[in-house]
């Protein structure tokens, strides 16, 4: 069955989408349920993430509507988002998140 998009945005708040197939450099990125116009700045491998908008350094990377890490440098829209430009949260940042849950 033919499907009309090549990347999946999992939550309306997300700033990344997941490539449903390999997306070549300069290819159009077609997002499910979205009119957003985007071109891949570089190759995005199958299952990897692409920036839906420019993400500035130290901003959250949001997937599933949740913070999955921080940008280690500015990530232009259409870039491959992975270990070269994202880090996980450090102990202090984790503690803040967890303590926030238990606040009255």
């Amino acid at each position: 069955m033919e499907i009309s998009y090549n990347a999946l945005k999992l939550n309306p708040d997300d700033n990344v989408a997941v490539a449903l197939q390999r997306i070549g450099k300069s290819e159009a990125v077609l997002i499910n349920n979205s009119e957003i116009e985007l071109v891949a700045l570089e190759e995005i491998p199958y299952g990897h993430k692409i920036a839906l908008r420019t993400i500035i350094e130290n901003d959250d990377i949001t997937k599933y509507g949740e913070c999955m890490g921080k940008a280690t440098k500015e990530i232009p829209a259409g870039s491959h988002v992975h270990v070269h430009n994202v880090r996980g949260l450090n102990e202090m940042e984790r503690a803040v998140v967890i303590n926030h849950v238990m606040e009255p």
Binding site: M1, I3, L8, L10, V18, A19, L20, P45, Y46, G47, H48, K49, I61, K63, Y64, E66, C67, M68, G69, V81, H82, V83, V86, R87, G88, L89, R94, V97, I98, H100, V101, M102
Partner: protein
């Protein structure tokens, strides 16, 4: 309310299988237990390598797991193979007799030859098997079902296809009054705040954060850091970038229902609803704990085609991507990869899983059962003495 046909036991529990098993109490007896089981076709060997030279915390956990396994509602009768004056065998027999579950203990001792022991075991098993065939399925409510939620061999699609579909199933069964048990504490590290904030009250949220913190602490005590080991190089090649991302995908199996209870490894939920069991990320030990805690069926998502099954509970495999389903269909029951290439959505696959759970509870064999995948290992906490 959804119904299924199961085996109603005298203690009120309901099984979806009617196994006659042989279970060994200590690792030394594993080959002999397997041999006794092989004498009677249809009998299932439940073999492990623990039970001896253990610290008290492991002794208690092993005993709880063996009692939960031999006394499981999917088990019609159990032959327990022990050593002379075997405390574990005695304890299992006492607990099973309390439930009126047919149990026989045979212990290696100086008064009986091996051929004599094999003959005694064979005769008891043949008789137990004949009796088990007379038991018939009866109509039961879905509220009697406890379904374990597990993953193994995750990939970048696990959190997008199979796990959220399992989450949809979890919400469905809990809504109908049944129980789902999410497991794998290590796989929640990095996303524990989400499950905690979704707990039914602060106390349950706190208990959940405590088991995650304790696990994290025990890993650090060994000099390792879960954050440097996860995601694995294989996870990263597949597109997973951070531990948080991997864990956010894992906990999708829990759906959106509030977390009602946090239980120890191999413990039985005391309430119906959505429950978390403290288990390791190693899938064989985790499935073993879920089963020993009373889950009659386990759902298991896999991106890499993990064959893990169980000797006593049907394990339903859900492939996360079209390729794993195509190349390993012998291992996999449901293709959640249809979300990637066939315009299916999470609700479609969640409903497919729900229907499959009912079919399997009615007796339909899973891929793992057809392959005789009967892995069994008890979570070991400390060193051998």
């Amino acid at each position: 309310m959804t119904k299924f046909n199961g085996y109603r036991r005298s203690d009120g529990s309901v099984g979806v299988r009617n196994h006659v098993i042989v279970i060994n109490t200590v690792g030394e007896l594993s080959a002999l237990a397997r041999k006794i089981a092989s004498l009677v076709p249809g009998v299932i060997p439940v073999i492990h390598h623990g039970g001896v030279a253990q610290f008290p915390e492991d002794y208690v956990q092993t005993l709880r797991t063996l009692i939960g396994t031999a006394g499981h509602p999917n088990v019609s009768a159990a032959l327990v193979l022990g050593e002379e004056d075997d405390e574990i065998a005695k304890a299992i027999a006492v607990k099973l007799k309390e439930k009126n579950k047919p149990v026989r203990t045979i212990c290696l001792n100086n008064n009986q030859t091996i051929p004599g022991l094999l003959k005694e075991g064979k005769e008891w098993l043949e008789n137990a098997l004949v009796k088990s065939k007379r038991e018939i399925r009866q109509e039961c409510d879905i509220t009697e079902l406890i379904v374990g939620l597990e993953c193994g061999g995750s990939d970048a699609w696990s959190g997008i296809t199979a796990n959220p579909s399992i989450g949809t199933f979890s919400d469905m069964i809990v809504k109908e009054g049944g129980t789902s048990v999410l497991a794998e504490t290590t796989e929640a590290i990095g996303a524990e705040h989400i499950l905690a904030s979704n707990a039914i009250n602060r106390e349950v949220g706190r208990e959940f954060l405590d088991i995650v913190r304790n696990y994290d602490y025990r890993i650090k005590q060994t000099g390792e850091d879960i954050r440097s080991a996860n995601p694995t190089p294989g996870n990263m090649a597949g597109g997973l970038t951070t531990l948080e991302e991997k864990s956010l995908g894992c906990i999708k199996k829990g759906g959106s229902t509030p977390l009602k209870e946090v239980i120890s490894y191999a413990d039985r939920p005391s309430e119906k609803g959505f429950v978390f069991m403290d288990t390791p990320g190693y899938d064989v030990e985790s499935v073993c704990g879920l089963a020993a805690g009373g889950a009659q069926v386990v759902l298991f998502s896999t991106g890499k085609g993990s064959p893990t099954g169980s000797p006593i509970v049907p394990v339903i495999k859900i492939g996360t991507n079209p390729k794993v389903y195509e190349i390993m269909s012998e291992h996999i029951d449901i293709n959640a990869g249809k979300i990637i290439d066939q315009n299916k959505n999470i609700t479609d696959i969640g409903t497919e899983i729900f229907d499959k759970v009912i079919d399997v509870s009615n007796g339909e064999q899973t891929a793992a059962e057809n392959q005789l995948n009967q892995e069994f290992a008890i979570w070991r906490l400390a060193e051998s003495i």
